[in-house]
Amino acid sequence: MGAATREAFGEAIVRVGEDPRVVVLTGDLRDSTRTEDFAERYPDRFFECGIAESNMLGIASGLALEGKVPWACSFSTFVAGRFETVRMSVAYQEANVRIVGTHSGIGVGEDGYSQMSLEDIAMLRTLPNMAVINPADGIETQGAVEYLVDHQGPVFLRLTRQGVEDVNGNGYRFEFGKAVPLREGTDVAIVATGAPVGEAVKAAELLQGDGVSASVLNVHTLQPLDEEAVLEAATRRRAVITVEDHSARGGLGGAVAEVLASRNGSLAPLRIIGMRTFGESGSPAELYEKYGLTGDGIAGTVRDALKDVS
């Protein structure tokens, strides 16, 4: 298991902190969001906002409108969940705020549902100018952070509390808005985002043992979505399975469904793996198993999908 994407963020934000425009804000979560090193290195550009996330987002907006590049960091559900403030004080202003949400998905584990953000992608991708980035591993997170310093417009960066499998090699270069093909395959396409991408790769390996050839596409940028890559995944294959540690409604699966449903032609049927209930306490591994997000679980859904179409 590789490191949590929040760890990679903590390292990268110190590096990009050399740019004097970079400002970091947290809501009493400098430890959990891994921004303590930044705070130590750049104390004049680190601001504690207390348990008052709406105000933190507004302050970030004001800073951005004056040319700073503020990163507002908290658990995802406490920042993305302040949707009305995100919508009005960040997105509508076209403010260059980077909303950083750690502790996304059921991968949060033992703390249970109240700390798990399962709705953030669905909410924030309704905002027309909001870039939504959900990296699969540490190196992708670092690449995203470096890219985002100069990106124009508001951004939601969704990170994990728990360790994730490293799926990208050392030579990896993050390309905003471009999905990453991780594996070729001709029978089915597994389209995944964030923490479960590593599990999708495992699923493809398991399926290979059954003689099923599965491609894996890593969609790190959910908005703007790489529609071309999504359409390619659904072409000349028997099924498309999306995988996300997020609600099965409105996230990656929803975004892919919107693309596929708007095109004519014989595209593969879609299965969405994601949460259909609230989350609960348990270890991340137990929860991934229970909710079908492990390699085994994903492979099982792929087999079911293939039975349905055969």
């Binding site: 008052a52 004001g62 409108l65 009005m88």
Partner: protein, 283 residues
């Protein structure tokens, strides 16, 4: 010397009173033309807006993004028409454009949109959010060692919103003395008196407890407005709040303190009566 100074002051006050009267008329004209809007809270704010835009704020209307300008955030965004009237008079855009308020494609959106109209510092309209943005701007100014200041006008109903108090706590804790907030305490919100919906008093004590310098004034007395704005400029180590006690609908007798005129444009005869009162009265 003293006589000259007091004469100058009297002239300034008279000039600003005249401007406030003119802004009220333009404001109501544009709301009538649009057929919708929020007259009550624009009329209560007119004297303060006149003092800010025609005396206190350092602005260059011909260069709306001039880096050294003072920033003004209207947190009570529904009252933007009174600001539009000031901006038009200053030359930010042609006065004829006031007629396009709320029209499809107009930069004069029903609530302010900074991406549509240069000179608008922040898009607002969802109440309770503007002060946080103003705090962020003031923080940026401090980080850059800038001399410009940030002004933010809120409504009294608006400060029922919790985010206002988050921002007040933060600005007080961080001693943002380049920030001056103004509470247009016009006593009435959409459906009734503020005191009846959710009483906000005692506001002076509350903001002082949050480490703000607070000055309470009659918000229709231009001399008091100028004194308070000058005092705020001199305060160090604390943000300033001016509690501007005003009358919602000020200048139109039957609109005054009447919640019915929070969010409705007068029509027909009522429109004529309202304009006649403003043109003939001492608003």
């Amino acid at each position: 010397m003293a006589t000259t100074e007091s004469t100058d002051r009297a002239d300034l006050i008279e000039r600003l009173q005249g401007i406030a009267r003119e802004l009220r008329i333009r404001d109501l004209e544009m709301i009538i033309e649009a057929g919708s809007g929020h007259p009550g809270g624009t009329l209560s704010a007119a004297d303060m807006i006149a003092a800010l835009f025609f005396h206190t704020l350092r602005l260059r209307p011909e260069a709306p993004h001039w880096p050294d300008r003072d920033r003004f955030v209207l947190s009570k965004g529904h009252c933007i028409p009174i600001v539009y009237t000031a901006m038009a008079k200053l030359g930010y855009f042609p006065e004829e454009e006031l007629k396009t308020l709320r029209d499809l494609g107009s930069p004069l959106q029903g609530h302010p949109d900074r991406t549509q109209l240069p000179g608008i510092e922040a898009s607002t309209g969802s109440l309770g959010q503007g002060l946080s943005i103003a705090v962020g701007m003031a923080l940026a100014g401090r980080l850059d060692g800038a001399a410009w200041r940030v002004f933010c006008m809120m409504g009294d109903g608006e400060i029922q919103a919790g985010q206002i108090w988050e921002a007040a706590m933060w600005a007080g804790r961080h001693s943002l003395d380049n920030l001056c907030a103004i509470l247009d305490a016009n006593q009435v919100q959409q459906t009734g008196k503020v005191v009846e919906r959710l009483d906000i008093e005692p506001v002076v004590a509350k903001w002082r407890a949050f480490n703000w310098h607070v000055r309470e004034i009659d918000g229709h007395d231009v001399a008091q407005i100028l004194d308070a704005l000058e005092e705020a400029d001199l305060v160090t180590g604390r943000p300033s709040l001016i509690v501007s006690r005003t009358i919602k609908g000020k200048g139109v007798s039957w609109m005054e303190l009447n919640p019915s005129w929070h969010g409705k444009a007068p029509e027909g005869e009522k429109a004529e009566q309202a304009l006649a009162e403003l043109r003939g009265g001492h608003a």
